[in-house]
């Protein structure tokens, strides 16, 4: 399942970061790596971007960027 499919208040574990280049590096250096747990805090009023809580802090990314991240263990 893709991160962009998650709904508000769901949790999941990151399985794979796709894409390449600047986006992938950025996602990784922000701590979204394999095995990390993410929690979907909310979607912006215009439904994009998404706000997540990861490793104890809040990070936002566009839906199209979240679509590059595969997750499982969705709760």
């Amino acid at each position: 399942m893709l991160l962009s499919n998650l709904k508000k208040n769901q949790t999941a574990k990151i399985v794979h970061i796709g894409g390449n280049g600047a986006l992938r590096r950025r996602i990784l250096e922000m701590g979204l790596i394999k095995g990390t747990e993410v929690y979907v805090e909310k979607y912006a009023p215009l439904k994009d971007p998404i706000e997540l809580i990861v490793k104890g802090y809040h990070v936002s990314l566009r839906v199209e960027e979240a679509a590059k991240i595969t997750v499982d263990n969705v709760k």
Binding site: G21, A22, L23, R25, R26, I27, L28, E29, M30, G31, I33, K34, E41, K42, A44, P45, L46, K47, D48, P49, E51, K55, G56, Y57, H58, V59, S60, L61, R62, E65
Partner: protein
């Protein structure tokens, strides 16, 4: 006593409180500029403490030290090449895990580094407890707790930094990231290879260089090629071999695997060092966001904040604006009395003082605007604004953060362009800077009011609204156009932290505001001053004009002829006759002034350019007015006043009537308004564009593009409109 000098670099993640600590240490003794060759801000400051003269350099905030973004390259290069005596890595204590990613990379570089665990109070209130001693042990790095915005821990921090700098400290080889077996094997193999084949010609630690080569770091590769001479090819070949092996082994790039393993190492540290209280503490920041980024309330509140910012700027700013205006007028009037009527006096009053005055008047507004921006940034609300606006901005091809600079453009383009610094990607910055001038600045409004008022009467308001709308639409179109042509390329990642809300420090806000204000005064003031003097010179010379009519003697003639009539008239008629005489004299003076304007250099230029402006419905007087608008857009109206009415009265109806009888049509007026909306921005803005894009290329492009667009659109409107109505 000669104080010993040390250089200290401040590094850390964005939002870690680095700037606050920098401000605490250096206060007003800061120097703000740019890192050489780029448009990234460089801040340096000095502080004398404990008998030392300390130079503090604020490195750009980064999450990592890869060679990919300009900020990371600057930060990393400063540590590698300039070799500061100490690096202080400022860590947000509430964000320990992510912050350690950068920290471990500093440890790998082999520089003297110490950690400042900042905002320890916030961490504590969130139930996070960090064992500083253990952290220090595990990474072999001194750790100091600080609370930046309460100015706590600064002295200890500097003390420890000096201690570290002065110690004969052998960079500990243990206590840093240890990778998995295969990777470590490759690293040591490459390391020995490097040591044998380069014999110290590469100034970096060999282990670090080996790691970078395995990561295919293009900057390090280039440096190895430059410094290791003929052996470099061998080295790179070796690196390549190892890389290929690792790619095969892990089924992924070594740098990705190593990132994973770094975080694994960090996770181990976190387990031993961080304890989270099980009590559910209230997260204030999160609760605030329940309202501020709420699905229904988020936007209205955002719009309110923006409205409040402009309200504050213009209503509060009106008072100092008036004082400055009074001050300038006072100086002008006093000098007018004192000085003899010479050309120099005219130059001083109408060239210099008028020019400086027109800039100084804006200073209060600019300062207040920047103060508000500083509040948004320091509290953390700015990232929420980007979060709310990104969807719309992305449609234009921009980043959510572009919204605030563009919005400021409606007030004044100069601070708007300066505010584009908050954008991380250079492409985003340049695109925002190119589009912002289409946000109709407040200086253009008087032109719209005069023209729309004269030609559209009751519908003036709608027309003006239409002009603003046209500006917005054209900026969107231009944005998309440039994004898919000139500034093509993958979108910069939006991935953005939403830092916890913080109470801003007044000191930080003031420093931030004053930094920008100083830039505005120095650069823009200088440029506008020069521009005003040039305009004055072009209008004042040639000084001795050969008039078509000897006006002075004609005026004397008229006065003389009336004198006799008035003396011999009846009492009741005297007033009427005097009035008649005054009207005739005024007409002559007006004609004289008009001719002077026509025959001055400015006027001649206007006449030369008239054929360029004719197809868009603007005559030579309009074209001169537009030319003077290059200095400042407000001048367009006053120039129009001088040329059409030949009178410096503030009588707006006089100008209106003059325009109506000048042969301009409503369509022509509309074309002129659109031209004013779009054509090249004022001198100060152009200078700001050059400064913020760092090149003359973009500045010239902006001027050429906007003026061509202005002409084309005005042409379509004028020709199309005239045809339709004919």
């Amino acid at each position: 006593m000669n104080q010993k000098r040390l250089s200290i670099a401040l590094a850390g993640n964005p939002n870690s409180g680095k700037t606050t600590i920098f401000n605490n240490m250096t206060g007003t003794r800061q120097k703000v500029g740019n890192w050489p060759g780029v448009t990234v801000e460089k801040k340096e400051g000095n502080v004398k403490k404990f008998g030392y003269d300390l130079k503090i350099i604020d490195l750009p905030g980064t999450y990592s030290l890869t060679p990919f973004t300009i900020e990371e390259i600057i930060a990393r290069d400063f540590v590698l090449e300039e070799r500061p005596d100490v690096v202080i890595d400022i860590i947000d204590a509430s964000n320990l895990e992510r912050s350690l990613y950068l920290a471990t990379q500093f440890r790998e570089i082999d520089c003297k580094v110490l950690f400042a665990l900042n905002m320890a109070d916030v961490a504590r209130s969130r139930g996070l407890k960090i064992d500083g001693k253990k952290l220090s042990e595990l990474l072999d790095v001194p750790v100091v707790f600080t609370v930046g915005n309460k100015n706590q821990g600064m002295d200890t921090l500097l003390e420890k930094a000096i201690e570290l700098a002065e110690s004969n400290y052998e960079i500990p080889q243990k206590r840093r990231v240890k990778y998995s077996k295969d990777i470590e094997n490759s690293i040591s193999s490459l390391k020995s290879f490097l040591e044998n084949w380069t014999q110290g010609s590469i100034p970096y630690s060999s282990r670090w260089t080996a790691i970078k080569l395995l990561e295919d770091d293009k900057i390090v590769k280039k440096r190895v090629l430059n410094k290791a001479g003929e052996n470099s090819r061998e080295i790179l070949q070796q690196a390549r071999t190892h890389r290929d092996f690792l790619v095969d082994r892990f089924d992924d790039d070594p740098e990705i695997v190593m990132t994973d393993e770094r975080y694994g190492f960090i996770a181990g540290i976190i387990k031993e060092v961080l304890t989270t209280s099980t009590k559910q503490r209230i997260d204030i920041s999160r609760n605030i966001d329940l309202v501020l980024t709420n699905r229904f309330l988020g936007f209205p509140i955002f719009i309110f904040f923006i409205w409040a910012m402009f309200q504050l700027t213009f209503s509060l700013g009106a008072y100092p604006m008036e004082w400055i205006d009074m001050g300038v007028t006072f100086v002008s009037k006093s000098l007018a009395h004192v000085l003899p009527n010479t050309l120099f006096k005219d130059f001083l009053l109408n060239g210099v003082i008028a020019g400086v005055g027109s800039v100084a008047i804006f200073l209060p507004n600019i300062l207040i605007l920047f103060f508000c921006i500083a509040i948004f940034e320091d509290t953390g609300y700015m990232s929420r604004a980007a979060f709310l606006m990104d969807k719309i901005m992305h449609l234009i091809g921009l980043h959510g953060k572009s919204f605030i600079p563009m919005l400021m453009g409606f007030g004044c383009n100069v601070p708007a362009i300066m505010a584009s610094r908050t954008l991380e990607s250079e492409k985003d910055r340049i695109l925002t800077i190119l589009i912002t001038p289409f946000m109709s600045c407040s200086a253009k409004l008087p032109v719209y009011i005069v023209l729309a008022g004269a030609f559209f009467g009751a519908r003036a308001g709608t027309v003006i609204f239409g002009i603003y709308l046209a500006g917005i639409i054209l900026s969107i179109v231009t944005g998309r156009l440039f994004r898919s042509t000139l500034l093509r390329g993958a979108d910069a990642p939006f991935v953005m932290e939403l830092p916890p809300y913080r109470a801003p420090m007044i000191k930080s806000l003031v420093i931030h505001m004053w930094d920008r204000g100083k830039i505005f005064l120095k650069k823009m003031g200088g440029v506008i001053l020069v521009g005003s003097v040039v305009v004055w010179t072009l209008s004042a010379f040639p000084h001795n004009i050969s008039y078509s009519l000897d006006y002075n003697s004609k005026i004397a003639e008229v006065k003389a002829s009336y004198r006799f009539e008035i003396e011999t008239a009846r009492e009741s008629d005297k007033k009427l006759l005097a009035k008649q005489r005054d009207i005739e004299v005024a007409e002559l003076i007006k004609a004289k002034k008009t001719e002077k304007a026509e025959k001055s250099f400015m006027g001649r230029i206007g006449k030369v350019l008239a054929p360029v402006f004719a197809p868009i419905g603007i005559d030579w007087r309009g074209s001169i007015a537009l030319l003077t608008g290059f200095v400042a857009k407000e001048i367009v109206v006053s120039t129009m006043g001088i040329l059409y009415v030949a009178d410096e009265t503030d009588d707006s109806s006089a100008l209106k009537n003059a325009l109506l009888s000048s042969g301009m049509t409503p369509v022509g007026a509309l074309a002129m308004m659109v031209f004013v909306l779009l054509y090249m921005p004022c001198l100060a803005t152009v200078a700001a564009i050059r400064r913020e894009t760092g090149s003359y290329k973009w500045m010239i492009f902006s001027v050429v593009y906007s003026t061509s667009l202005a002409w084309s659109v005005a042409f379509c409107i004028y020709q199309g409109g005239t045809l339709l109505l004919a």
